[in-house]
């Protein structure tokens, strides 16, 4: 085909490529601020920092490599019929571009390892523990009145449970500024306990005792839902997390009437 | 095709068919590897082994335990059959087809008696594939192995028929060797099975 025509086609497709790439790059930069919510727990804040760190490295790698690609397409397009120099490779460069990524990933790994150690902490026995039960297709949250956490004396005994139905979505109450432990259990299939603003999820696995602890720092209501496909109405396993002051929490608790443990069972 | 391999000037003792067959065996090993993994994981994270039974199962008179004697004899039989088939291979390498036929018949007989023993053993067991992970893993592992034994026996029968039909000679007896490989593989898997299921406590 005529070279001039080649060039026109080449330009058209290259402009497309460049535009699309620029778009992606800029959007990803935007993602750095708006992409991931900051999170509402101490743990979430640590993980969010890691996210930013990873994102920056990723963007640098991306822009460098993608830039190099686009540059080649403009700089080295065919100009004449002369055969370019037939370079078969170079050990030095191979070594260089093997080592640099190694360094990068070791850095990434080290940081994420530290964060992992910091966020996966265990509950002190005095901490408030909420028993979370996932079932097809909703949640049950069980509190033990004699075990309501540090700042209060047990004023009563017995458990009470909030059972959700897809029709009326349950609300999970926790006090702010205190470590709270969630003990997850399921009798049917795997679910996943996911509160977006925790930046964390943990699977609810039959026959497995999964627990995690967070300390919420923000008061408010937050959307949450099951994150593991668990059957037809997986999409409806939503619930609301409500973070309140200790005072409001105690007041709310005192309004709850103790229920027989029986109701903790999954309703058939 | 092989002709072309020759054109390509590869000095090779293994024929293409044999190489392909060995690769196939490798995948078989991985298959049993997966099943064994399941067994060991289940056993590792079960507090007691054999696991506890549900009241219902207790009531039904389920008992999770295995007889040692018969399977041990069966094991010996299978190992022996590995030896006999090897004699068959040696025979055909000498070009002694009638000896090959004899050894094949013996090996087939041994293989069949192994299967019969296993069937009888099954019939005596006091638990089924539904009775806890113990029953499931037991029947799955031994069952898949049994199926491979059956396959091996059929393989040997084919070889038997062909050799009776006057095939195989000192120079051409690859199928016989392939067959013996397969049989040894089945044998080795069983030894591993026997060790894990009956011996390792």
């Amino acid at each position: 085909m005529p070279v001039s025509g080649m060039l026109r086609r080449f330009r058209r497709s290259m402009v497309l490529l460049a535009v699309a790439l620029l778009a992606i790059a800029s959007v990803s930069v935007a993602a750095a601020q708006s992409g991931q919510p900051g999170g509402i727990t101490d743990e979430a804040h640590k993980m969010h920092d890691l996210w930013i760190f990873t994102l920056i490295i990723a963007l640098v790698v991306f822009l460098a490599v993608e830039g190099a690609i686009v540059y080649c397409l403009f700089a080295f397009r065919k100009k004449d019929d002369a055969l370019p120099k037939q370079t078969h490779g170079s050990t030095i460069v191979e070594v260089i571009w093997t080592t640099i990524p190694v360094v990068i990933v070791v850095a990434l790994f080290s940081y994420s390892f530290i964060v992992l150690r910091d966020v996966e902490n265990h509950a002190a026995k005095e901490d408030l523990t909420v028993k979370v039960q996932g079932f097809q297709y909703q949640w049950g949250f069980t509190y033990d009145k004699s075990d309501l956490g540090t700042n209060t004396k047990p004023d009563a005994t017995g458990e009470f449970t909030l059972l959700g139905t897809p029709a009326d979505i349950p609300t999970l109450w926790i006090p702010v500024d205190e470590p709270v432990e969630f003990a997850l259990s399921s009798n049917d299939v795997i679910h996943s306990f996911y509160v977006r603003d925790f930046l964390y999820k943990l699977d609810v696995i039959p026959g497995r005792d999964n627990r995690f602890v967070v300390t919420a720092r923000e008061i408010g209501e937050f959307h949450a839902q099951c994150a593991e496909l668990c059957g037809v109405d997986h999409a409806l396993m939503r619930f609301t997390l409500k973070v309140v002051t200790r005072a409001d929490f105690d007041k709310w608790v005192s309004e709850q009437k103790v229920t027989a443990p029986a109701s903790v069972q999954k309703p058939q | 095709m092989a002709a072309h391999g020759a054109v390509a000037g590869h000095k090779q003792q293994l024929s293409n068919g044999m190489l392909g067959f060995i690769l196939f065996l490798a995948s078989e090993v991985m298959f049993f590897g997966g099943l064994f993994a399941a067994y060991f994981i289940a056993r590792a994270d079960s507090p007691v082994w054999p696991p506890l039974l549900s009241p219902a199962q207790e009531a039904a008179g389920v008992e999770l335990h295995l007889e040692f004697a018969l399977p041990f004899i069966a094991t010996c039989v299978l190992v022996l059959s590995s030896v006999t088939i090897q004699f068959g291979v040696m025979a055909v390498q000498r070009g002694d087809r009638s000896a090959l036929i004899r050894w094949l018949i013996i090996s087939i007989a041994l293989g069949l008696s192994f299967l019969t023993a296993q069937m009888y053993d099954y019939s005596q067991l006091t638990f089924s594939s539904g009775d806890t992970i113990y029953g499931t893993t037991f029947y799955t592992l031994t069952g898949f192995h049994g199926a491979h034994v059956a396959g091996g026996i059929i393989f040997m029968m084919v070889i038997l028929v062909r050799s009776m039909g006057g095939q195989f000679s000192a120079s051409r007896h690859e199928a016989v060797e392939a067959c013996s490989f397969y049989w040894h593989f089945v044998d080795v898997v069983w030894i591993a099975l026997f060790a894990t299921l009956y011996i390792v406590k």
């Binding site: 080649c72 990434l108 992992l116 977006r196 | 390509a8 995948s27």
Partner: protein, 537 residues
């Protein structure tokens, strides 16, 4: 120019249909593979369009929750098991024997068997829709969920087993072919890179697929013979399924990409008029990816809390290194080249730029604390498609445009090709880039509906528009193919001035592939012939 004669088989005549049904010719089987898999690409794509239609707006009721689960499960099953994995077997079948100067595959009949397992398996998998619903537990079929669901699940299990057998025996066939049938002078390290990637893929299939078979057998036993493998009440272990499934399925994702990388490594050098930069480094990187692939499976299971996170996180990070080596080698190939932009090259560049994104966003999930947030959200869906569409599918089209002249003796129209590329490239990014943001904003995957007040609708609508744009981009492709078939075969042996042996013979090649093969002094025999064997150095 000296050459070596090759023995011919006696060719004989048969009615056309019967001929195609009974053929053991690797080229015909390759073509059958390509038709079948592209058909399932269309099917999987149409299912994807249903998914996108349902998700286009919040609280949508286009399909109900039950149907939705079936649709996306079959979308993925079709795309992975019936399209992307066997499509490589298709290219491999047609191209590998030609590239190594062989007459056929080592075991032509077994080759036919591997193919003929695919269509029935496909029908079996989809027949679920006739028996009260197809499989609906996701392509990952997690237990206990997958222990419970309907007959469609059993059909799915059997179908995937058949496909597993198909690719396992296919794999040993490829290996023997490449070990034993290479033409004189073609040492292992003179094999085209595409062959190398097929070789490593074959090893992965041979070792990983049987493990999947074992897992499927267990699931089948659990479902039909009261087994307790994945039943905690029977002492079973729920996470066991995930361990075994991913032990197969992570290597499987490299099964889904490596041959694509091979195709890219054929196309880039040809249209940059340079040899692949760092041939050996590339081969070793491919092997490294294959090896590491077996040590990272639990990165799919970080949120189970049941795996050794640091180990699997680290190994997962490490896989970025050999993959990086490949990316850089491709860059090195473009560098100081003399680049032209025929459609195969455009598609290859699409792969290069988009797989890069898919790789990097996969690396996010290797950092466990990041993955706690990202896991099972649309961020992962974005990753899946940047690697599998931005990677594999672009490679498929690169291969189709590149080898079309060889396989069908005709060339696909350039302009239509450019149009397809442009539409597909834009549509692809429109569809899948927003999914990153949705995932970060907490939208879980595999949900049939989402409520309006979560603010996910806008980006979902964009994604849906993009999806239909991708569908439209297939129209110029289909037109180009039809148009090509209406023209007579007019292609010379080597329309691209390429490097490898398949371009030595006629387009399309005769039944016996070669009348003779040239002497081979390097991995670029045809280049050597054009420029003399010393020009290359």
């Amino acid at each position: 120019m000296s050459s070596v004669a090759i023995p011919r088989p006696k060719s004989y005549e048969r009615p056309v249909i019967l001929d195609w049904l009974t053929t053991v010719d690797h080229k015909k089987l390759g073509i059958l593979y390509l038709y079948t898999t592209m058909f399932f690409f269309a099917v999987g794509g149409v299912l994807a369009l249903l998914v996108r239609t349902q998700l286009a707006v919040a609280d949508n009721t286009f399909v109900n929750n039950d149907q939705y689960n079936q649709i996306f499960t079959m979308h993925a099953s079709a795309m992975l098991f019936l399209f992307i994995i066997p499509v490589w077997a298709g290219f491999g079948n047609y191209i590998v024997p030609l590239q190594i100067g062989a007459m056929d595959m080592a075991f032509p009949r077994i080759n036919a068997l591997s193919f003929w397992l695919v269509p029935p398996a496909g029908l079996l998998m989809f027949s679920g829709f006739l028996f009260g619903g197809s499989a609906d537990a996701g392509w990952t079929a997690y237990s206990p969920l997958a222990r419970g669901t309907g007959t469609g699940m059993d059909l799915w299990i059997v179908a995937v087993l058949l496909l597993g057998i198909s690719s396992t025996i296919g794999a040993s066939n490829f290996l023997v072919t490449m070990f034993r049938m290479r033409a004189p002078g073609m040492t292992m390290f003179r094999m085209p890179i595409f062959c190398w990637t097929i070789l490593v893929t074959a090893v992965l299939q041979l070792l990983a697929t049987p493990v999947l078979a074992a897992a499927l057998a267990m699931l089948f036993i659990d479902r039909n013979f009261g087994g307790a493998f994945f039943d905690p009440n029977g002492g079973g272990n729920v996470v066991l399924w995930q361990n075994i499934f991913w032990f197969y399925s992570h290597p499987a994702v490299y099964i889904m990409i490596l041959p694509g990388m091979g195709i890219i490594s054929e196309v880039l050098p040809v249209f940059s008029r340079k040899p692949l930069f760092g041939y050996k480094a590339f081969v070793f990187a491919t092997m490294a990816i294959g090896g590491l692939g077996f040590s990272v499976w639990a990165h799919h299971m970080f949120t189970t809390g049941a795996v050794l996170k640091p180990w699997f996180g680290f190994m997962t990070f490490m896989i970025g290194v050999p993959t990086g080596v490949k990316i850089f080698n491709w860059l090195g190939t473009l560098w100081r080249g003399s680049i032209t932009f025929e459609v195969p090259m455009l598609m290859a560049l699409g792969f290069l730029s988009m797989f890069l994104i898919g790789g990097i966003n996969g690396t996010f999930s290797a950092a466990e604390p990041d993955d706690f947030a990202l896991h099972d959200t649309y961020f992962v869906v974005a990753h899946i498609h940047y690697v599998l569409f931005g990677g594999s599918v672009f490679a498929v089209f690169a291969g189709l445009y590149y080898w079309f002249p060889k396989i069908w003796g005709r060339r696909l129209n350039e302009r239509l090709g450019q149009l397809q590329f442009a539409l597909m490239f834009i549509g692809f990014n429109l569809t899948f880039f927003p999914m990153h943001l949705l995932g970060l904003d907490g939208m879980p995957r595999r949900i049939a509906t989402y409520s309006n007040d979560l603010g996910w609708q806008a980006l979902n609508t964009v994604a849906t528009v993009g999806a239909f744009l991708i569908a439209v981009s297939m129209i110029p492709f289909i037109v180009a193919v039809v148009a090509a078939f209406m023209k007579p075969k007019d292609q010379p042996n080597d329309p691209w001035e390429a490097n490898t042996l398949e371009w030595w013979t006629t387009s399309p090649p005769p039944v016996h592939n070669f009348d003779d093969v040239p002497e081979i002094h390097s991995e670029r025999p045809l280049f050597d012939l054009r420029h003399g064997k010393n020009a290359g150095h």
